[in-house]
């Protein structure tokens, strides 16, 4: 590689290129190579073996994908995650925007509330799950309050309610992070716009709808994409909250099944095929979301 080529690669800002280089290396090592390797694994009869072990890992074409797509548990897990996203993403956007807007207003105890919403996000899932188990088991606080209106079977063992309960739990747990994103975005909405709207006679709701919502659209796009990506990678919550994806797989997620097949059962080829399908699914979904939510940004 000549100095000229290096210079061309570095562009007009070689210091910038030097600063970016470590992250590029990181991306290649931690994102690109593993992804490529996962795709490779998914097309082979692959399993982890001891160094020097004489094992065969033949190319098997789409066999692992056929195995995955013909597995009812996997299909159900993908269906479950769609249910999760349909509940989680809109709820996350609406709640975090409304709460951020409220927290942004000059109210007393603002810092206290901000911290309160952020604490669940930084708390260990295992600890918080314990609290939710206490709240949502059949004798929990929620059912005590609901009395005769309590569902039977109860929330986490009800095949119709288990995934929505997990979705609500995750929404609550992650809300603090998305509120922070919106709070940052709200600082960029010009106060002049609010004043102008107020002078035009707009009430609080109208100002929210016509000034705040359009003003934070880039943040909304980000919130939608991030909550979709994190939601599609759901694992800890169904594993801990519903005892490994119960009842009868009603809250199993693709990543949970990927873990079972790939790590527990020693079939990383099948696990990788699930992972590749999940990535394709998330990319397609993100593309659609980007088109819908971010259509006015360009």
């Amino acid at each position: 590689m000549t100095i000229t080529t290096l210079g061309r690669l570095a562009g007009k800002q070689p210091i910038g290129a030097a600063l970016v280089a470590p992250y590029v290396v990181f991306l290649l090592a931690v994102f690109a190579y593993p992804l490529g390797f996962a795709v490779y694994i998914s097309f082979h009869d692959y399993f982890f073996a001891a160094p020097g072990a004489d094992v065969s890992r033949p190319f098997v074409g789409f066999d692992n994908y056929v195995t995955v797509l013909s597995d009812p548990a996997v299909r159900r897990a993908f269906g479950n995650v769609v249910v999760f996203l349909v509940i989680n993403v809109p709820l996350t956007v609406i709640l975090s925007l409304v709460l951020a807007n409220a927290l942004n207003a000059a109210v007393r105890w603002r810092t206290f509330f901000r911290v309160s919403y952020y604490v669940p996000y930084v708390s260990a899932s295992v600890a918080v799950v314990g609290v939710w188990l206490f709240l949502f088991n059949s004798n929990g606080l929620v059912n005590s309050v609901l009395g005769p209106l309590a569902p039977s079977p109860s929330w986490l063992v009800n095949s119709g309610l288990a995934m929505p309960t997990v979705a609500i739990y995750v929404t609550w747990k992650q809300l603090g992070f998305f509120i922070l994103l919106y709070l940052a975005a709200l600082q960029n909405v010009s106060a002049d716009l609010y004043e102008a709207a107020e002078m035009d006679g707009a009430n609080r709701l109208q100002r929210f709808r016509n000034v705040t919502v359009p003003g934070v659209r880039p943040a909304t796009t980000l919130v939608v994409l991030v909550s979709t990506v994190t939601g599609a990678n759901l694992f800890t919550e169904p594993y801990l909250l519903t005892g490994g994806g119960g009842p009868d797989g009603a809250s199993a997620s693709p990543v949970l099944i990927m873990y079972q097949r790939g790590i527990e059962q020693g079939n990383p080829d099948v696990g990788s095929a699930i992972g590749v399908l999940l990535i394709i699914g998330v990319l397609l979904l993100a593309l659609v979301e980007r088109r819908i939510v971010g259509r006015d940004e360009d």
Binding site: P51, V157, G243, D248, G262, S272, V282
Partner: protein, 426 residues
Amino acid sequence: MRRTITAAALVVALAAITACGNGDTGSSGATARGPITVWYSNNAEEVAWGKQMVAAWNAGHPDQKVTAQEIPTGKSSEEVIGAAITAGNAPCLIFNTSPASVSQFQKQGGLVALDDFPDGKSYVEDRSGDVAQQYKSPDGKYYQLPWKANPVMIFYNKKAFAKAGIDTAKPPLSTYDEFLATSRKLVSSKAAKFAIYPAPSNEFYQSWFDFYPLYAAETGGKQLVENGHATFASDQGTEVARFWRTLYAGKLASQEKYTGDSFVDGTAAMAIVGPWAIATYQGKIDWGVVPVPTSTGKSLAETYTFSDAKNVAMYSACANRGTAWDVLKFATGKDQDGKFLAATGQIPLRKDVTTEFAGYFAKNPDYRVFADQASRTVGVPNVPNSITIWQTFRDAYSRSVIFGRQDPAQALGAAAQKVDQLVSRP
């Protein structure tokens, strides 16, 4: 995405290490001697035993030093061991190898056949007797030494039973009908919220503590898979499943995950567990123990149960296998087995354990019944795809028995077909 990326990074790291490794999976190191490493379980009693065992060995063998540590913390010891095999840094011996994982570890090329040692086969069979046969791999070799058992039995809370007006010396728990009637009495009298509370969650191993002990008892010691075929889609399997279904349907057992120990907390009047738990009940519960129930009510002397065994395996990354084999024999000899029994209350998988350690059992009569039961146990079948098989079974059991969404006979039949396919797949 974070978790996917983390998992993918782990895959890459393991692959990179695999590419760099130069492990010797053959038997060439069978006579090599020198320092070795071993891992043992991380419960306090076993750690104490492990430390003294290693100290005793090291005192007599300064040139073949054993370095020991607890199995590194992970989601499960099986996953940690699997990763260590792939990375080529597994220790020579792991005390607490799960028999369910042996077929997988063997497929990975991670285990040393104990038959590679001239006295390997005879040592295993002489120490454990007929029980050893269950732990043979499909190729006819031993890749694990049957080490210790925790024969699963029914513990009952005498206080709760007394409150429900049930005989605490000889509680009626022998037949299914008796067990169900007693359970109904316990719950209706509010002596306990649930009669019994096995974990209703979906992990592959949970069936070892509900269905499998009763299935072993009902069938007189049948394993889940025998001669390459699932055995559970039978009248006996269905009868066991329907028994548990009745408990769940009558809310005598709970469908909900419990955080904590339901027996210690008094939420459940009974527990189905092995003698390792006795230490945790000390000073908290006045308990009694009976064999698991059967449809006809077999006596203790003819009742089988699940062994909940953990074994010792030698790993192919071990260079000094001669030393490892000697340490394995030292740690599972009569002297160390006696110390293990005294320290943990778990039953060494030796033939004639009750007579060999008669003194201990005379002083600790609570453990005597478990030692007797240990001679009639079944383990996890040593077949290919073992964990997938157990997960397939658990899914069917969970769907039909715990949540009642399918007839148990149908669910077991469909699961048996899948299991038959899995057993025949290498």
